[in-house]
Symmetry: C2
Subunit: 711 residues, 2 copies
């Protein structure tokens, strides 16, 4: 279920702030040695001020005009210099507080970091938890296969048995292959990890891209199939299948943002109930068939739209292979088993494969014996159950457990996708935001991305399960192939005990998966597989560009001892290297400007004021104000006959920086802050516009001195 | 055309920066007296640094990584301490420069402030320039009247002559009334000014709201009627009338943003051509009618849908009154006449009224004589011209000049609406942005608002002229009534020569206008007048709230000598009042953080660092980094077990401020700046989020120390 390395470290919330390497620490030490040069002894350490809000009674008797913004008693002291914050309340405005309250009702209160824990599962619980994805696939896999075959008329349906046989062989081969992976990676190994580890990070990215498509489609397909199961039982829901699907996705979103724990019992019950339902269905069906001497009912004649040929058989095979999606879950989740982990995981995998084979083979056989053909408004599983149980409670039980297990399967993707993005982000291939844990200790950003993508795909394909199937197989088998190929490479490198046998098993798994991958991509290209064939390289390209950007950034941000004082103020890392010049743009000599001038001057560094004037007349008027005030600072006036205040100031600052690159320019901006958002259009926001304009200029520091307007 | 007070001062671009009052200057002087207390002698005057980029060769030999952002030689020195900026080029990014280029192609190069000038018009030029609005109204006014009458069947059409007679009497009365206004306000007087001046600012606001609706509807109605004129001649354009109307509005927008000068000749030709066309039409029609002994052709029988009654007659009267819209143009524009301004304006007004009466009466008479009734796809003017000239070149001439003069009428609103908003904004009743002149010396913001409103109304009423008429009359006659009532008050106060006669004339004008206003509002309420009846109070409410907000802001921003040092750091206006404490939030000890720490420390004020840690483990890891570096500053660690970095910091800063309100907290934020917008999602933007979070907190200054990531 997860893509773990040793588990405790990886999902800690502090992964967002990775430690510095030894080399970086050494550079830091060197930088720090020169720091105090030119400073008064300890003069800036701020020891004299009480900085700890828990140490003093800071609640003022008369609340100021902003005091109702937030409660102030939000910290408790645990150690000297260490405060512990209480849970946040959504910040300043009433709207913010209301949003925080609503959020808390929907998502629950924030969880402390210490709540990250790793549950250990018994085999009997692990089996249902990890197999809802793969077992639920039998709800749509056999139908997907028959849907293709029937294109060649009802006569072609006889081929479903040999194709199913080939698929069972493939299941066993892939299952055996994953047993090898479990032994070799006892800490768990998703396809991304195994492929990166053995075949290089770029191949790992290919596997990751395939997996991402797989997880997104798992949600779309499982939700669509679950809605189908419900709509088969309650036909009047059929026209509402897309809104129903979106509703289910919204519920999954809310549940996962809230942090649905993989609590064993919740997940175990529906899966076991589903297995029981299927076994009951198969058993009853076989008994019924035995009574009729296993005579095959002739299917309704179907129109022939495609000639029966190798291509059609291959397409049916690739469609049926969607029954195997989710088979990799156990190998990803080895660490969640009770010790000995890998042994327990391996036997769970065997049980899972066994169950899968029984259910798949049994359903295909019964569909064939009863001569069922796909229908628009009813799944084949529903047809089979209706036929076997003649409607009634047992039929309802089958449909309900099917829908439930499909919901759980979709939920599995909600666990796996954000974790995959976490690993990608940790390695610099995805935005850092995916490393950040939300206040419910889940990777909220990954959950949101998955939801958006799955919802878009569901709507684009109008919720039709069979239309989604062609997209599904490609991503899954891409990841299978790369994971198994990685294992081949692994055995060639490591050569442990029985390595030749393991090599052979994984080689066979890789080869078979590759065959299915190519078959699926080639035969279903036009029907939708092209989406995946285009998306995977696109994802890889974006991931590589992201990595490149982060590499550049880290190079820029690494502490660096080599850069001298005068060359680039932006690299000044010791106080003595910083030479100051403060600029105060002034439009009128009002309270805001006077405060900015006082602030800038009080820093005791060189200061001057700049005024942009639209014409000479205003220029003189402003000089008179300035002289009335006392002409305490040097004043530069820029006449901008085209009335461009911001551009003129930005150009002036840029020219000044070019003139004196050894000086750090601090632009001290008087800024009027209003309390209500609807008052914002009444003000000019020149401060914000100037900040944006000088943002890209080097060596310019921007200081906002606010003056607040109440009401 | 404009709402001038003495013209040269009012539209200067420096109106945006109004001068300080004498009292404010006195306060400023007092504030300035105490300024140098506690400062070293002239120590902060920055005299030593060369601040003038024109004085030194600042173009660096090796261009830095940002040097291609803008050309640096953008200033020339005109006087010591005074630079003149060249025209701006759209700032930093390539996209910004491309946008600036495109803008320059569409709108032309920026104009210098000195290009504001006031053209003086001869009477022969002033007449067409100022009368396109009112004269073009005859294109839809008579039809609007007949459209109502015909609801009572073709038998009611005979009433059009007496109603037209009443309207002519009204035109003469209102015209006489405005002659009085011209004499009394030789500097020009829009309804807003006259009503504010004489009846108080709130009544002025009512007039302004009416005028705003009037100007917006002038654009919508004139454009719709112009498109009708074209579509009557080329019927296959009829289904495209809304897109065509929007296209015309877009052209008006572009032309006016570019700054269409009211150059006499451009405006004179189409208006005279239109007058000639109408006179030709009326003349030919009368000759034709005379040949038939002025026999009235029986109109086609029409279905009777409304009973003929007083209400219907009043509705027809109010609809016909839309022929008078634009009559106030001359009185607004007195200063543009050659001297003696008021005499020339007055005789122009008389000529205008005379022409209006002739055209209106002639057209109504001919429509009646020929028994014309409104048709869906053809205006009545087009029917009349087709009938009189039997199609052909003369018919085309009539339709073309009609469309052209309607376009000019819409353009008049593009001159008047932004100026009205300028006056409102200058008085604090509209956002200050409407005072700002664009780089083409036009009030771009007002032009944009007018365009948006007119386009919305055009689309909402699907471009049907007759559907817009009910909205139109209310706003116009509201402004007429208040303007004339203001004149009544004026004469009662001033009592100049002949004041009794003037009083009587204006009183009659006011009374008649009020009758039309009430008639229009009452009889057309359900058909659309309710829009105006709702919009006018809404505009007034918003204007009063805006004024209240500005008053509050001015009270806060007025220089103030009374506030002591320790009470509120936000009011500190002398350097000695500011006590500093700098806080540097640090996430990792990278180059960005080191630079921020160096910057903060180099200010030689008390400094400390804050680190927010998600758990104790990361806390210790960070302390080790800090110690490696040398522990040069005091470090506070906030453990935020809910991983809320921004909220914890904001609460901490708020608590600190509550603890020590006598200290100005400066938050020095290390900020990573990326060059491409598509790199932004890769970074966390904690600096920007913290800035937003502390924006509303008092006494907290935020300083951004940028580190730029190239590429």
């Amino acid at each position: 279920m997860d893509q773990n390395e040793p588990p405790v470290v990886t999902f800690s919330p502090s992964a967002e702030l990775p430690p510095l390497s030894d080399q970086e620490l050494a550079v830091l030490r060197e930088v720090g040695r020169d720091w105090p040069a030119g400073l008064p002894d300890g003069g800036c350490r701020a020891e004299a001020l009480p900085l700890d809000p828990t140490l003093a009674p800071y609640r003022t008797a008369t609340p100021g005009r902003f005091s109702r913004i937030a409660q102030l008693d939000r910290f408790r002291a645990e150690a000297p210099d260490q405060l512990v914050a209480e849970s946040p309340d959504g910040g300043g405005s009433p709207a913010g507080r209301a949003a925080a309250r609503a959020r808390r009702i929907v998502l629950g209160p924030p969880l402390g970091s210490s709540a990250v824990l790793q549950e250990r599962l018994r085999k009997l619980v692990a089996l249902p938890v990890l197999s809802s994805d793969v077992l639920s696939s039998v709800a749509y896999g056999p139908e997907a296969m028959v849907t293709i075959l029937v294109l060649a008329g009802s006569g072609a349906l006889g081929l479903s048995l040999p194709i199913a046989g080939a698929l069972v062989a493939l299941m066993l081969a892939v299952g055996l292959s994953y047993r090898q992976t479990i032994r070799a990676y006892p800490h768990g190994a998703g396809s991304y990890i195994v492929a990166s580890d053995n075949l290089g990070p770029r191949v790992g990215l290919v596997a990751a891209a395939g997996l991402m498509m797989d997880y997104i489609l798992t949600v779309s397909v499982s939700v669509a199939a679950g809605v189908d199961a419900v709509a088969s039982a309650v036909p009047r829901l059929t026209p509402w299948s897309v809104p129903l699907g979106l509703l289910v996705i919204a519920l999954l979103l809310a549940g996962n943002l809230r942090g649905v724990r993989a609590a064993g019992n919740i997940f175990a019950a529906p899966t076991y109930a589903f297995i029981a339902a299927m076994l009951l269905l198969i058993g009853a069906g076989l008994v019924h068939a035995a009574r009729h001497g296993f005579a095959t009912a002739p299917p309704q004649p179907q129109p022939v739209t495609h000639a029966l040929g190798v291509l059609l058989v291959l397409r049916a095979f690739a469609s049926g292979a969607t029954s195997m999606t989710g088979i990799e879950a156990v190998s990803n989740a080895v660490p969640v088993f009770k010790p000995p982990e890998w042994r327990n995981a391996r036997s769970t995998l065997s049980w899972m494969i066994g169950t899968l084979v029984v259910l798949f083979a049994g359903l295909v056989a019964l569909i064939h014996l009863n001569g069922l053909v796909p229908r628009a408004n009813q799944t084949m599983l529903s047809q089979l159950a209706r036929l076997t149980f003649h409607g009634g409670a047992l039929y309802g039980y089958v449909q309900a457990t099917t829908a439930l297990v499909l919901l759980l399967a979709a939920n599995t993707a909600y666990q796996d996708f954000p974790r995959l993005l976490f690993f990608l982000a940790r390695d610099g291939y995805a935005p850092r935001a995916f490393v950040r844990m939300g206040d419910r200790l889940v990777f909220s950003n990954g959950i949101l991305v998955l939801t958006a993508a799955a919802a878009v795909i569901l709507v684009a394909f109008r919720g039709r399960t069979q239309a989604l199937i062609p997209l599904y197989a490609v991503g899954v088998f891409l990841a299978f192939t790369l994971s198994q190929s990685g294992m081949v490479r692994h055995w060639l490198r490591v050569r442990g005990a029985h390595w030749r046998r393991s090599l052979a098993v994984n080689g066979a798994g890789a080869a078979l998966s590759a065959v299915v991958l190519l078959t699926a991509a080639a035969t279903k290209f036009a029907e939708g597989a092209w989406v995946v064939v285009v998306a995977v390289p696109a994802i890889i390209f974006v991931a590589l560009r992201i990595r490149h950007h982060y590499d550049t950034m880290h190079a820029v941000l690494a502490p660096d001892t080599l850069i001298g004082a005068a060359e680039d103020q932006e690299n000044a890392e010791r106080p003595a290297q910083v030479r100051h010049l403060a600029v105060v743009p002034v439009a009128r000599l009002d309270q805001a400007s006077l405060r900015a001038l006082a602030y800038a001057t009080s820093l005791r560094q060189p200061v001057f004021a700049v005024h942009v004037s639209p014409d000479d007349e205003e220029d003189e008027r402003f000089r008179r104000q300035w002289d009335s005030w006392g002409d305490h600072l040097r004043l530069e006036i820029i006449v901008s006959p085209h009335r461009a205040v911001i551009a003129s100031l930005a150009h002036y600052l840029q020219a000044l920086h070019a003139l004196r690159p050894d000086v750090t320019l601090t632009v001290v901006l008087p800024e009027v802050v209003v309390k209500r958002w609807w008052h914002r259009p009444l003000h000019h926001h020149d401060a914000q516009r100037l900040r944006r304009a000088v943002r890209d200029l080097p060596g310019i520091v921007v200081t906002s001195v606010p003056v607040h307007v109440p009401t």
